[in-house]
Homo-oligomer: 386 residues x 2
């Protein structure tokens, strides 16, 4: 049996996130909004002020009573670096304490072969370049595949051909700042918890639609990782025992029906002309042209996806789902049937399930990676964790 600290030191970060999005607030207001005791806020803000992350503004009297002392986020007091690893490139973001991106870059590195060497090089360069301005306090790495955030080991990443790679430990040895590694979707889920859905919901799902399908699960404000960090394999939900073969060895996994390449294949088979290297944009184009086969295909895919999500929603009783990922561009065509079928498949008290999609770029995963650090503010609050 292993136990994980309760909220981690999430609350300190939530204070930062709240002030980042809502502007300066008094301590009492912070306590109320976060559902946390006043004493807790006093204690945490004391430290955050000490660390230079917060600043007291002039007391502001409003009506009767002792005037509140608004606290303002010193957004640039610390920066963290987030790297998203993809097969053929890296995306990097430098993120402020309030989760906002101050800088981003994209490198055509293929790191599969020697990840530690290349990532070290990239991160070192970035840290050095920022030494004189706001220094980088930590690095988060988001990888495709199963990664255990606790140990920093990438258990299995088919696409990168990594098996049990101790990425976190090796990077930590080579770098002067703390390093956290996690699955890319969970990284973005963490970002959602801090700066997105988490502002309204304690429990929610994050559906990642791309070539694979992933599901981030947040329950009681905790990002669930499952055994060895292997949770969230929504794409391998067994749907149709007679379905197409899947890379995982089974048949009829959800992603063999509604994954990105599955949709392209099925469109082709339905007679739609698509370039061999076509991506979701080509499907969008076809849909915009009004090709009935594509419209039907996407609508059906949305329905199936919605039904599967409804199943998870019923079991976990969450009230909100956020959709992200490369294929979000298809949402105008997937969305209506998705939402309808998800709502239909859900039990009565959950009928008001909220489904949210917002513009998404793949920098988001990199930002998520940075948020892994922010979610453990302890890692960056302490002067030097190294």
């Amino acid at each position: 049996m292993t136990r994980r600290p309760a909220h981690g030191d999430l609350i300190r970060t939530e204070i930062l996130a709240l002030l980042g999005s809502a502007g300066p607030l008094g301590r009492a207001e912070i306590a109320a909004r976060l559902g946390v005791g006043a004493a807790t806020v006093t204690e945490h803000t004391r430290r955050l002020i000490g660390a230079g992350f917060l600043r007291e503004l002039a007391p502001h009297a409003s009506g009767a009573g002792r005037p509140r002392v608004p606290l303002e986020l010193v957004s640039d007091a610390a920066h963290v670096l987030g790297i998203r690893v993809a097969v053929d490139h890296l995306v990097g973001t430098v993120v402020r304490l309030d989760g906002r991106i101050v800088d981003e870059f994209r490198l055509p590195e293929r790191v599969a072969q020697s990840p530690v060497r290349l990532l070290t090089k990239v991160v070192r360069a970035e840290i050095d370049a920022r030494r004189d301005t706001t220094p980088v306090r930590g690095v988060g790495v988001a990888v495709p595949g199963m990664a255990d955030p606790e140990s920093g080991v990438v258990r299995l990443s088919g696409i990168m051909d990594w098996h049990g790679l101790p990425l976190g430990a090796e990077l930590a040895r080579a770098l002067p700042v703390p390093v956290l590694v996690d699955n890319d979707l969970r990284a973005s889920t963490t970002a959602e918890l801090l700066f997105g859905m988490g502002r309204e919901h304690d429990d929610f799902l994050v559906l990642g639609i791309g070539d694979g399908l992933g599901m981030g699960v947040v329950l009681e404000r905790r990002v669930q990782r499952g055994a060895d960090g292997s949770s969230g394999e929504f794409g391998h939900l067994p749907v149709d025992p007679e379905g197409p073969d899947c890379t995982c060895g089974n048949r009829g996994c959800l992603q063999t029906l509604v994954g990105q390449s599955a949709l392209l294949d099925r469109a082709r088979r339905a007679g739609v002309r698509l370039a061999p290297d076509a991506g979701p944009a080509a499907l969008v184009a076809a849909a915009e042209r009004g090709e009935p086969a594509v419209l039907r295909l996407l609508s059906e895919a949305g329905t199936l996806l919605g039904r599967c999500v409804a199943g998870v929603v019923n079991v976990l009783a969450v009230k909100a789902v956020k959709v992200i990922g490369e294929s979000h561009v298809l949402w105008p065509y997937l969305g209506p049937s998705f939402t309808a079928s998800a709502r239909a498949g859900v039990i009565e008290p959950l009928k008001d399930l909220s489904v949210t999609v917002s513009p998404w770029r793949d920098t988001e995963h990199a930002r998520g990676a940075a948020c892994l650090l922010l979610a453990r503010s302890g890692a960056i609050t302490r002067p030097s964790a190294r």
Copy 2:
């Protein structure tokens, strides 16, 4: 936003549970087995000894080093009462600290009409009867339907025709001991966490098969409740959009295909002669006679059930499933196909999914109800919570 205490005071109970099942152990051994700090064990055992729940045995030297002081559970130091509410009867159990049942009873009361009055009467009688022996320290009530354990409100129980019934609060007012109310499957899930699967696993599912299908979810040693305690509605997983109408208003819910009455219906339609009031036992009899239609039906049901469970397993990455409920008698016929299809539908790292079924009686839900109290040992440790 609302926050729930981390483990609750689960650890004190886990110490009791451990000593109950493993016999007397030294403090160091307890700490190691529970994955908890030695200091924590010292502190908790001090209190438990103070409360009379534990007793120090004579130090026992084994090899070098300071001899360990084994701690023994004083099993009968406290009893708790668990009541399972069913449509046409009540099941009650009196449970010791180690989770063992010391007494049980069954009453043909139909409490749907005036639950508070009847339950108060029954519980009062039981408490009074036990006043002179080991007193009852608390009462747990397991109800069918959605119940919020936090507030003690039964949100919705179709079968009892309850809507927003504040059962916990009203019983607490009428009774001299703490009262906890929860959904019946979650109650049994709590029992599993303390005394069953929880001994080996931090994360697991409990599949309840009966007329309805339920799913208890334990992640990181926490029983998940979802929004308003409405989690676990596995039976309403949308499976077949063309399927039979379900009581929930949707079509093709899982339980319209493999629920108890669904199986009976389908057997009848396949030409099997069954009494109008037949239960799962009749299906077992038919299967034992070797009726091919029934065998096929049950095998198919197992396959479907396994596939749905595999989906949940993939998303949450749990490594174990326990099966309980009225229909467990069908397991010899459901089980093989269930296990096969569950394993088949699960991603590689979870292939070693353990599926456990053990003899089950409906007293188990009543025991689960009692375990709700044990899981909050604070409720019974303190001299009088009232």
